[in-house]
Amino acid sequence: MAHDTAHHHESNTKRIWTVFIILSIVTLVEVVFGILKPEFLTDTSFLSMSLLNWIFILLTIYKAYYIAWAFMHLEGETKGLRRAVVWTSIFLISYLIFILLTEGGYIYEVYKSNHVAWDF
């Protein structure tokens, strides 16, 4: 416990407000896109998902990065701790998403081609 008081902490307020502004702008951009839904983005499909959805997901990860790095102060932790947290989550979550979404798409196809009926 004592080691924390030993080294002097500088104030990070400037960084905190910068991150707040970044997060706010990104959220605003998301909301504007969500309301306008530009057609060239919703109609363009990339890897079986519309470009707009890819933008939303990328912006979300961008926000998550700032929350984890600046607010949860991962940027100040040791490499070992940071990697233990980030890589564990990223690997397991990607795997989970891959399996479940593939399977969900497969079940949709099965219903669609009427191999199994669900609407009586």
Partner: protein, 326 residues
């Protein structure tokens, strides 16, 4: 008596004990353990939501049509604004939290108290907003009928505007009375009956030639399919079996039952996290006021509860994306 301390002669070496390779305290590491496992729990829920959504990819409700309420704007179609406001509230309470942690590093008790207070207020406002959102979701706006296969049929007029059940149905004089426990067998009562019977809806629909049926299937333009007048009448008379108003775990007026189930479960689980976070924040807030950390010359407890609070914010960023945007 001589103390039984074993001297290994390896003190100060890598494996000599007392080494802190991660340079973080025990409490903080345990908070990170918890956060990582909780993140996996939430991803499990969100991935399951994605699974169901892919399974019903062409009949999933369009979020903008479901979440389009804003306080004091009755009947105005305001998609996204309210949930964007909630997101800002939560992000801002995250900012005040990190400001409290920052003030804690400099041992400024007054500032920590002030920022912790703001954080708690932000959390409470968010919880209230969540409750309002649930209220709208549960009560519903227009109502719909469901078919034997569990599909939802909604009503629109010639201009494509949604029409509420109350404007479609003809109230029936012979409507059944709700069975309560005080009548008949005392331990048996039923759910409150819907305001309109399916017969009343069918009769009202036949009379008003302006009305059309909108199914839950999404067409190629990304909009819900609208049937012609003839198809609408045929569909309603042959398939509709009941009236649904609002949402519960079995049925909802928006689309597949799983939509409401996941909405309740995921936003509910997140709301429960916010609630616990507010409680923990209050405890720490009083400890700050009482001077516990002032005496310790260490505000690390604020930092630990801060980690949890930011995590709750982080989860909301993803819930926001996958329930309201994508």
């Amino acid at each position: 008596m001589e103390a039984t301390v074993v001297r290994t002669g390896t003190e100060g070496k890598t494996w000599g004990g007392g080494n802190e390779p991660l340079k973080a305290s025990y409490g903080k590491l345990m908070m990170w353990f918890f956060i990582t496992s909780d993140a996996l729990t939430f991803s499990g829920f969100l991935a399951a939501y994605g699974f169901s959504r892919f399974k019903f990819i062409d009949s999933w409700p369009i979020a903008d049509e479901v979440f389009n309420h804003f306080p004091f704007l009755h009947g105005v179609d305001a998609p996204m604004y309210y949930v964007a406001l909630m997101t800002f509230i939560l992000i801002f309470s995250s900012v005040t939290m990190v400001l409290a942690v920052d003030a804690g590093h400099q041992l400024k008790k007054g500032k920590v108290t002030f920022y912790m207070f703001l954080t708690i207020i932000g959390g409470i406002i968010f919880l209230g907003s969540q409750a309002w959102e649930w209220k709208n979701f549960i009560n519903g706006t227009y109502g719909a009928v469901y078919t034997e296969g569990g599909n939802i049929l909604q009503f629109i007029d010639g201009d494509g505007h949604r029409v509420a059940l109350s404007d479609v149905a003809i109230p029936e004089a012979s409507a059944r009375v709700e069975h309560e426990a005080r009548n008949g067998v005392w331990f048996e009562s039923e759910r409150s009956l819907p305001s309109y019977s399916i017969e009343g809806v069918k009769a009202g629909f036949a009379e008003n030639s302006d009305l059309l049926i909108r199914t839950q299937m999404v067409n190629e333009e990304g909009e819900k399919t609208i049937l012609s007048r003839e198809e609408s009448i045929a569909k309603l008379n042959s398939e509709a079996v009941g009236v649904v108003e609002g949402a519960n775990l079995t049925r909802n007026e928006y689309g597949p039952p799983l939509f409401a189930d996941f909405f309740f479960f995921i936003t509910g689980f997140h709301g429960f996290h916010v609630f616990s976070g507010v409680l923990i924040n209050i405890i720490i807030f009083f400890n700050v006021i009482l001077g516990t950390y002032e005496r310790r010359k260490n505000y690390e407890m604020v930092e630990k509860v801060g980690l949890y609070w930011h995590f709750v914010d982080l989860v909301w960023v993803f819930v926001f994306t996958f329930f309201y945007l994508v």
